[in-house]
């Protein structure tokens, strides 16, 4: 897969991609688990469809943001069809870059008085 050495070139990250990165931050997950995690964290406001999810996963794999695990974290799992995904170092860097971008934006909004500052 193509590893772009500069995560900044991917910014801004599409919303779905950023959500998937967040979902994979604490542990490796399969697709349905990612979808559930995103829905839970956003209180059901973001419902990823299967098409959106796997189209994003396909792109993220190519960009090197995530990788597919050769086998699931629980080898005893009965469902062989499940595929698990893990955040790469590059993915973490990209997420950090996106957070920095959003932070800077937030800071500007506060400094100009657009929104009340903390």
């Amino acid at each position: 897969m193509i590893h772009d050495p500069k995560p900044e070139s991917l910014l801004p990250l599409p919303t779905a991609v950023f959500h998937i990165l967040i979902a994979l931050a604490d542990r490796d997950r399969h697709g349905y688990s990612i979808m559930q995690d995103v829905a839970a964290r956003t209180e059901g406001k973001v419902q990823l469809s299967a098409g959106t999810l796997y189209s994003s996963i396909r792109r993220m794999l190519e960009q090197g943001l995530i990788e597919e695990l050769a086998e699931g974290p629980d080898p005893s799992s009965t469902d062989e069809r499940r595929r698990y995904y893990r955040l790469t170092r590059f993915g973490k860097r990209a997420a950090a870059a996106e957070v920095a971008r959003l932070n800077a934006l937030l800071k500007q909004a506060r400094e100009t008085g657009l929104v009340p500052g903390a």
Binding site: H30, Y32, R59
Partner: protein, 904 residues
């Protein structure tokens, strides 16, 4: 369960690769989401899920497809960049193939099928005259009418129902000498039209105004100029309106400029200015073409009408013919005997669609253009076959890569898709370059066509139809050369190919079957092109050496416009005599005479005759072509008199009327009897007959037509005819070169009368050249196409064999090691190749037969199934095939067995 299969069906909207990779995951996930929804949310939530999945079809799926296309394109570009020479050859040959097809299609479409440009609803237009004809006729005709007279047009315009409007236009197209204010005389192309011309065509002026029907009632000295002329001559200045322009006796005021793109009612011609028909006597003085004097009519006009909505062509034709018939009856009512009346009344109008307008070029070029379009189509097929072959050979080189991808799980469909994308990318590059090539080729073709019709004019228009054609040709080419190799290359299962890499001592003829088929196809397609080129080349050779019956060297043809002088017959006759005397006195002139028809002038003259001692077998057996000539006509032209004498000075008015006939006339009407002293009576009508005594028989000479048999013709002395308004063609034979005499001829015409316009002055050879120009152009193109086809076929054959032999080098090496001599190896390869060559030639023979029928009408002095041409073309193809085979075969025969086997 049903939900699952519906969702699976939806997944087919995604690219196959994506589906294979994630389809199962998506199904599982969707099933879980659906289950969850059933448990918690109920119907609304389920519906939301389905809606989301359906929306994905329109948002995510196209994105995924685009992703695959981009991926394939990037890959295609990398592949193209990796083998620049292959890419260059492919793009270049496609550019030429697509360009040639587009250029000729654009021309073919423009000449044969397109509607008049810039005209409102051309489908409603009909023509009452013959669109293919241009010229005029003074006298009487029977049967279907080619042209109408002005009086007939007026009757139809005023009385025929079913039309919302009708206009007439001068069918011929002429160069006028014009002058703006006090400037110098210059040439402009003009056409006379009736007042309704612009209105019926639905054309509004770019600036100023156009003619109205008021122009049909009185003589209005106005002119409308074309947009092109306005730009070219006046730089688009608005003050052109109101400018005075002199054309012959008329001083016209420019009242308007026609819109851009409008060329009028005739395709392939671009007039500079239009003048009302009522101005005819001032613009074209000498003869009144607006009024018919019984029993003769001046027929010279095209008539167009615009049908009212709801009126069919059949209804309108009936109405038109009723009015036309009534007009004929009142015109001939008083003048003719009942017998000739019946004949005169046997005339009718045929209505044709007028959307394409009149076109001289349509008739003239249609055969050649259709043949050329077929030829370039075949050429593109050959080029595609060749590219397919190259791709097959290259595919073989890429087989390990492809086998690897197949074994890594890529589907065959995916690989075919990618390979076809590569072909498409090549074809699109070729197509874009082809459009550029088409632009230049079109210009070159129009210039070539203008050699046979100096008035022909057409610009390259990238209209939607031409663009669609170019696109269709490009796609078709990509599929033609791309699909077969793509299927072939991905056919063999991965394991076998990977294994084969290590062990290929034996040949794989099966793999080469497609390549051999393509080479046979190329040979088959090349043969008709070669035969066609051969036949056309021989036609041109024959035309150039055609025995006209007189030498064409050292002969000048000069025509002086005597129409103004002809108002006074005595003045006209004395002018002719004076000019002839002047010409005869020019140093270097061998002889000079004149005739009404001249040589290859495009005119013709015929009369109804009665020949002494000859009983006509049918009605059309009483006509003969004739010409009116001056003294010494035959000796000036160089036509030998085989019996009796020619027309002499002594055959003047008052002397017994004499005539000379040609051999064809003697054969037809006297058939073995001695014609000298016999009488030929010309019948104008039942009261007016003139008898001539035959005094000589001249050798047959082609003076009007290159093709067909020489027609029976008789020649009478001008001085023994009633006075004529004709401007004769002077024939001037020179002792040496024609060029210095030509200058002297121009000077002596000015000496007689400085105001006399010279209509034409050129050598007979220059006069004849345009007649064969189209044949020469077609033949040149056909030879080029044939050569390209031959080259491509040779490359294809060479490529396939080289590749095949390279693959079989192990087998051949073993044969050599076992003692096979080089000669035997070469013979073996030749034997194996002969099959595909023979198959190709057999099919090609059939195609060549079809091709020869297509160009039959253009051939001269050679039969369409000429065995010599066929044999030569076949021989050439065999020879080239053999050389293409021999090189790789010889290389194979010189294989070092040990080296070749070690390489395996």
């Amino acid at each position: 369960m049903r939900a699952k299969s519906v969702y699976r069906a939806l997944l087919y909207c995604y690219p196959a690769a994506f589906r294979h990779e994630y389809g199962n995951q998506m199904q599982v996930m969707f099933a879980e989401q659906l289950g969850e929804a059933r448990r918690t949310g109920g119907r609304l939530q389920q519906a939301a899920l389905w809606l989301g999945a359906s929306l994905d079809i329109f948002t995510i799926a196209p994105k995924e497809h685009w992703h695959v296309i981009l991926q394939d394109l990037r890959y295609a570009v990398r592949i193209m960049a990796a083998s620049p020479s292959f890419t260059a050859v492919a793009v270049l040959s496609l550019a030429l193939g697509i360009g040639a097809n587009t250029a000729i299609f654009s021309l073919w479409n423009g000449v044969l099928h397109s509607s008049l440009p810039g005209v409102y609803k051309p489908d409603q237009l009909v023509m009452l005259s013959n669109p293919d004809m241009a010229g005029g006729w003074h006298g009487n005709v029977t049967g279907e009418r080619d042209y109408l007279s002005y009086a007939e047009f007026e009757q139809l315009r005023d009385h025929a129902g079913g039309f919302s409007g009708m206009f007439a236009s001068q069918s011929s197209f002429s160069n006028w000498q014009v002058r703006f204010e006090d400037g110098a005389w210059e040439e402009a192309r003009g056409r006379m039209v009736s007042g309704g011309f612009f209105q019926v065509l639905g054309v509004s002026p770019a600036i100023g105004r156009v003619f109205t029907t008021a122009e049909d009632r009185v003589e209005t000295p106005y002119a409308v100029i074309s947009y092109n002329y306005w730009q070219r001559r006046f730089g688009g200045r608005r003050d052109v309106l109101g400018k005075a322009l002199t054309a012959r006796k008329a001083v016209l005021t420019i009242i308007g400029v026609a819109p851009s793109g409008f060329v009028g009612e005739t395709t392939g011609q671009q007039p500079d200015l239009w003048v009302p028909l009522r101005m005819q006597l001032s613009v074209m003085p000498g003869q009144d073409w607006l009024h018919d004097a019984p029993p003769a009519k001046a027929m010279w006009l095209h008539v167009f009408g615009r049908l009212k909505p709801g009126v069919t062509q059949v209804q309108a034709e009936a109405q038109v013919n009723a009015v036309f018939k009534a007009g004929l009856e009142s015109f001939y009512g008083a003048v003719a005997s009942p017998e000739s009346r019946r004949e005169f009344l046997d005339q009718r109008l045929r209505m044709r669609t007028g959307a394409g307008g009149a076109s001289h070029s349509r008739h003239e070029f249609s055969g050649s253009l259709t043949a050329l379009l077929t030829a370039v189509g075949v050429l593109l097929l050959i080029a595609c076959a060749n590219l397919a072959n190259l791709l097959l050979a290259r595919g073989a080189a890429r087989r390990p890569e492809i086998a690897l991808r197949l074994s890594l799980g890529a589907s065959r469909g995916r690989l075919i898709r990618q390979l076809v994308t590569e072909s498409l990318a090549l074809a699109v590059l070729g197509g874009v370059a082809g459009l550029a090539a088409a632009y230049f080729l079109h210009g070159a073709l129009v210039r070539m066509m203008a050699k046979s019709d100096p008035n022909f004019h057409m610009s390259f228009l990238l209209d939607p139809l031409v663009l669609a054609f170019a696109l269709a040709v490009t796609l078709a080419a990509a599929l033609l050369f791309g699909v077969l190799p793509a299927c072939q290359v991905t056919k063999h299962d991965a394991g076998a190919t990977l294994k084969e890499q290590g062990r290929s001592a034996t040949g794989s003829l099966g793999r080469m079957r497609s390549g051999r088929f393509l080479v046979s196809l190329q040979l088959a397609l090349s043969l008709p092109l070669l035969v066609g080129a051969g036949l056309l080349a021989r036609t041109v050779y024959n035309l150039q050496r055609a025995d006209l019956g007189f030498p064409t060297e050292r002969l000048l043809l000069v025509r002086v416009d005597l129409r103004e002088a002809a108002v006074d017959p005595a003045r006209r006759d004395s002018l002719v005599r004076e000019l002839l005397g002047q010409f005869q006195r020019i140093p270097g002139v061998r002889a000079a005479s004149y005739s009404h028809l001249g040589v290859f002038s495009g005119g013709e003259n015929g009369e109804t005759i009665q020949v002494e001692g000859y009983t006509p077998k049918a009605d059309n057996d009483r006509n003969s072509a004739m010409d009116v000539v001056g003294p010494g006509y035959f000796s000036t032209l160089g036509v030998p008199i085989v019996m009796g004498r020619e027309i002499l000075e002594s055959d003047r008015a008052g002397a017994p009327r004499t005539c000379v006939i040609n051999e064809a006339f003697a054969k037809r009407f006297f058939n073995g009897r001695n014609p000298i002293g016999m009488r030929i009576t010309a019948i104008e009508d039942s009261e007016k007959r003139t008898a001539y005594q035959v005094v000589g028989v001249a050798r047959n000479a082609r003076t009007q037509s290159m093709r067909g048999d020489v027609e029976p013709r008789y020649f009478v002395a001008e001085e023994q005819r009633p006075s004529s308004a004709n401007s004769p063609f002077f024939l001037i034979g020179t002792a040496a070169g024609t060029a210095p005499v030509l200058a002297a001829v121009r000077k002596s015409i000015q000496r007689v009368d400085a105001a006399l316009p010279i209509m034409s002055a050129r050598s007979i050879q220059e006069q004849i050249a345009p007649l064969t120009a189209q044949d020469r152009t077609t033949a040149q193109l056909a030879v080029v196409f044939g050569a390209v086809a031959l080259t491509l076929a040779a490359i294809g054959l060479y490529g396939v064999l080289s590749y095949g032999i390279a693959r079989r080098s192990g087998e051949i090496a073993i044969r050599i090691a076992l003692g096979a001599r080089p000669g035997r190896v070469i013979a073996m390869i030749l034997r194996e190749t002969s099959g595909l060559v023979i198959a190709g030639l057999a099919v090609g023979g059939g195609l060549a037969y079809a091709a020869s029928l297509l160009i039959n009408s253009r051939l001269y002095g050679v039969a369409p199934q000429d065995p010599l041409t066929l044999a030569l073309a076949t021989g050439l193809l065999v020879l080239v095939s053999l050389s293409a085979v021999y090189l790789p075969a010889r290389r194979a025969s010189r294989l070092e067995p040990m080296a070749a086997l070690r390489q395996e």
